[in-house]
């Protein structure tokens, strides 16, 4: 992709944001064509926080693009229309939703969350040659030619938090990992953290896998703290809030690291600001000044953050900006291809040797672990809570870590029984 196209896109979107466009389009250029983008996500149920906020974010971005006159692809101007389907993280519904989006709504791309819902639609993606995106690169299989992960590279980016922690707190020598016992989020994350800890010379003294629907985390936390770890790692546990609460009540004074820390203001309300300060995780708030640095490919993040929080005050989560980032990335690909057709866009995206993603330049990765180089990895922010607010401390290179240590990662994945090639 050429330098100039990217800048033109950024400029036009930035112009739209600066003009203070409302979230509802006041006027769509009538002469524009429409391209439909599908979102097959959980909007209700337990996984809703990793689906619905993404839709909100995409709406903001799409409305602003449309208000600025749409996007020019291959000589035509297009308005972006989002079509969302709520599968509630039910695999049957996910397949139904996918078919509806592809066959009835005739979308040109389907964004999804990941996990078993993606696995269930892959046969259809292949047959219909529909470009599908996921937030979990671990969904990639050797036969899934139409599935790409162009923003989030879970669980790989977790290594950055560990590197940061090891560097800044060399006195922390032991770690305990507590996360859910599931193959899509918890175990993947646990394997990555184990590998990262090993590379950093930190001893993992306990891996405690908990189930779901647990009401009482006290015994779990007690049993882990009895081993006196310097570092308490929550990997990608769905129960970060009750775990933090227990750590607070049981007087834990060590370092805390996690992948996500959604709704950390609620956690602070249940514990204390002093307690939560210092927690390391991987997801920034978008009013963070570090996002305005060059190399970050998200137009006016502060503006986006403000608009989002105004329209949806309590709904910001880790995925709020990820789906929009994927959408923007798709637009780049379509412009490069000069077409909105899935096969063409996929080809254009994959042909870039150093694809641009939200945090800068990346590379296509994944064949060593999952069978296809269909995930974009690059650098990722390390976020720490300071004064009750999430702050990006630095960016670290995921691809750099992988280049040196991927065999350690593969070893730990195999140890936990996860699928590897």
């Amino acid at each position: 992709m050429s330098f100039s196209r990217r800048d033109i896109l950024r400029a036009s979107i930035a112009g739209a944001f600066a003009a203070g466009a409302s979230t509802l389009p006041t006027r769509l250029l009538a002469a524009n064509k429409t391209v439909k983008i599908g979102m097959n996500i959980p909007m209700t149920g337990d996984y809703a926080p990793w689906g619905l906020p993404g839709l909100y974010g995409c709406e903001i971005v799409a409305n602003d693009i449309n208000a600025a006159g749409g996007v020019k692809i291959g000589g035509d101007s297009y308005n972006i229309e989002l079509v969302a389907y709520d599968h509630g993280y039910d695999t049957e519904k996910a397949v139904q939703g996918y078919k509806k989006l592809v066959l009835q709504d005739k979308v040109k791309m389907v964004m999804m969350l990941g996990g078993s819902t993606v696995a269930s639609v892959l046969p259809w993606a292949e047959r219909r040659k529909m470009l599908t995106t996921t937030l979990l690169p671990s969904d990639i299989t050797p036969d899934s030619n139409y599935l790409i992960a162009t923003c989030e590279s879970h669980p790989l980016y977790n290594v950055t938090g560990v590197e940061y922690l090891a560097e800044k707190f060399p006195q922390a020598k032991t770690a305990a990992i507590v996360t859910n016992n599931d193959a899509e989020y918890g175990l993947q994350s646990a394997a990555t953290y184990k590998a990262a800890f090993e590379v950093a010379g930190i001893d993992v003294i306990d891996v405690n896998l908990h189930g779901f629907d647990i009401t009482d985390f006290a015994p779990i936390v007690s049993s882990v703290l009895a081993k006196k770890p310097d570092i308490f790692c929550m990997a990608t546990s769905f129960y970060v809030t009750p775990l933090m609460e227990q750590l607070y009540h049981q007087g834990y004074k060590g370092k805390i690291i996690s992948c996500t820390l959604d709704y950390y203001d609620e956690i602070i309300a249940k514990t204390s600001r002093e307690f939560v300060d210092g927690t390391i995780f991987q997801f920034p708030d978008f009013d963070d000044p570090m996002l305005n640095q060059p190399g970050v490919n998200f137009p006016n993040p502060g503006d986006f953050d403000a608009k989002f929080r105004k329209a949806h005050p309590n709904d910001w989560s880790a995925v709020s900006w990820e789906y929009p980032a994927i959408l923007l990335n798709w637009i780049e690909g379509a412009k490069a291809a000069g077409s909105v057709e899935p096969t063409a866009v996929l080809k254009a995206l994959k042909s870039a040797k150093n694809p641009e993603f939200v945090f800068g330049e990346g590379q296509w990765w994944g064949s060593q672990l999952w069978g296809q180089d269909n995930a974009v990895v690059g650098r990722w922010p390390v976020v720490v809570v300071e004064g009750g607010k999430a702050r990006i401390k630095e960016y670290r290179s995921v691809s750099g870590w992988l280049a040196k240590n991927k065999n350690v990662l593969i070893k730990h994945m195999k140890e936990l029984g996860l699928r590897t090639v």
Binding site: M43, T44, G45, D46, A48, P49, L52, N181, N208, L209, H210, G211, F212, D213, I214, T215, D216, A218, P219, I220, S222, S223, A226, Y239, T241, P242, H249, Q250, G251, D262, Y263, E266, A269, K270, N314, D315
Partner: protein, 289 residues
């Protein structure tokens, strides 16, 4: 050793909650002969009430708790009047009706709370009691244990020292004989479900600041309640209390060493074993079928 003591403490506190909702279920089954599958959802409504009026709208915790108990009691009374009374002679029909209520309540919770992550209620009592340097018990949990004990004590007093209590026990023992003695079955059934629901609402309200509040939280409650009821003895209230404490300790210890899901699996197997070997449970009285 510290871990063992800590686990015992955690187990006892959990046992208090388990006892509250198990006793409610036993009351309803013992007196009315119907299995209230929606009992977990009654607890859920109690928890949601606390979230809605206390966490969201600022009403103080104790009044919110009373409101939760009242609301759940009313739901229970409505269930008795419109669902269980018409199906008095067909317990299976009553059970099926309670399943219907289960769904309605879950949807109501989704509508009230909206979708999204589990709700959190910040604890009204802050601080932690520290004993012997390592035994740390948050005051919120102690409050829950204390109120549970008080409620169970009040129930015991009610059942053994008041006329209504005696009537309840009579109906549980033999409904027809009690009717012949002039006891108003409908009235007693109302009282039974009223008390049972009140206990469930209280349990939900006490658990609200301590757990994740979501429309599915009732699932674990009903499983626990079944296990405790069967192990303790269907129809025996004291059995339910003892079984609640024993099962809570059992579950806590297995969770610490093997994980929570394994603990629940073991609990279910335990229940099946009890059903095979001694279906009346530890202290149960044979219930005519």
């Amino acid at each position: 050793m510290e871990l063992v003591l800590l686990s015992i403490t955690n187990g006892l506190i959990q046992g208090g909650f388990f006892a509250l909702f198990a006793v409610g279920l036993v009351l309803i089954f013992g007196v009315m002969g119907v299995v209230n599958f929606a009992h977990g959802e009654l607890v859920m409504v109690g928890a949601y009430t606390i979230w809605l009026v206390h966490a969201q709208h600022g009403l103080a915790y104790i009044p919110a708790l009373i409101l939760a108990i009242l609301l759940v009691t009313i739901i229970g009374l409505l269930m008795e009047r419109f669902l269980f009374r018409p199906t008095r002679n067909d317990p299976l029909a009553g059970l099926i009706c309670s399943i219907g209520v289960l769904f309605v309540l879950q949807v109501a919770a989704t509508l009230v709370g909206g979708e999204g992550p589990s709700k959190q209620v910040p604890p009204p009592f802050h601080g932690t009691l520290v004993l012997f340097d390592f035994l740390r018990i948050p005051y919120q949990r102690l409050f829950g244990l204390g109120i549970s004990a008080l409620a169970l004590g009040a129930l015991w007093y009610f059942l053994t020292r008041t006329r209504f209590g005696w009537a309840l026990r009579a109906v549980a023992l033999d409904r027809d004989a009690a009717a012949l003695q002039g006891i108003n079955i409908n009235q007693i059934s109302m009282i039974a479900i009223g008390v049972g629901a009140a206990l469930a609402g209280l349990a939900g309200g006490l658990m609200a600041p301590l757990t994740n509040i979501n429309p599915h939280m009732g699932h674990n409650v009903i499983i626990t309640a079944f296990i405790v009821t069967i192990v303790g003895g269907v129809g025996s209230l004291s059995g339910a209390v003892y079984a609640a404490i024993i099962y809570a300790l059992f579950h806590t210890f297995i969770t610490v060493y093997f994980g929570g899901t394994v603990a629940t699996i073991c609990g279910l197997i335990l229940m099946v074993l009890v059903l095979i070997v001694r279906p009346t449970g530890i202290m149960g009285v044979r219930v005519s079928e």
